[in-house]
Amino acid sequence: MSDTAARAPEDAVRQVSFIPGQNAPMSPHLQVWKFTVTMAASITQRITGGANAAGMALLVLWVASAAISESFYDAVTGFLGSWFGLVILAGFTLSVMFHMLNGLRYLGFDAGKGISRAASSNSGWAVFLLAPVLTAIIFFAGFTLGGAN
């Protein structure tokens, strides 16, 4: 401990010489981190938010195509019903389900609900589990009860 005191002034000098953008540490740190489900949910909320924004183009295309012409509508719905279209729709559905569930989780946090470490971790796992389950249920419903059947 005695050499800590001796080193202190030197450290203080080093602190002052940190230059942002050159040698100052940044946060969040890119090399030192620990996986937590709350952190994973947070970054996934951002990714799904962006994916949802991209998916909105497809949704608009669908509604607009009905307004424009029969051949355009048939082309858009034909694409959405193709295997490639269905893969995109499955991804979009999963993205929206995750984002909605995790968004509700955040609205709860904002209201002060479930913010303990254990509760926020459990709800984070629940969102990662429920989003694919809901997506599977939606696609199952689509293939069995959907308008085409």
Partner: protein
């Protein structure tokens, strides 16, 4: 409002709450629309309450996503020029989605 950040925060949460029931509606509606012809689609889209919910969706989501993407831009883009250009593109995209979405629903209620 105290500041634009406070306004964004409140709007982001307001639209988030509105979008939960709207999303549930949209998913169920989309399932019922599978395999529809254009004629059936026009009839559905122009049903007054479906049209109203779709219009609400196409107003709320562009607002919500433009605020959200705007925050992402602020977090990751630091060069002034690039950042303001990306903000402009973000606004244009949201406006395009909103105008095309609401416009299409209105057009359908007029032609159907």
């Amino acid at each position: 409002m105290a500041s634009s950040a406070t306004k964004h925060f409140a709007r982001q949460r307001m639209t988030a709450m509105i979008q939960v029931p709207l999303t549930i509606f949209l998913v169920i509606f989309a399932i019922t629309m599978i395999g529809s012809t254009r004629e059936e689609a026009l009839a559905a889209f122009s049903t007054w309450w479906i049209a109203a919910l779709l219009v609400a969706w196409f107003i709320s989501v562009p607002l919500h996503m433009s605020i959200g993407i705007g925050d992402i831009i602020d977090d990751y883009l630091h060069k002034k020029g690039t950042r303001s250009l990306t903000h402009t593109l973000n606004s244009v995209y949201a406006l395009l989605i909103g105008i095309l979405g609401v416009g299409s629903v209105i057009a359908i209620t007029l032609i159907a």
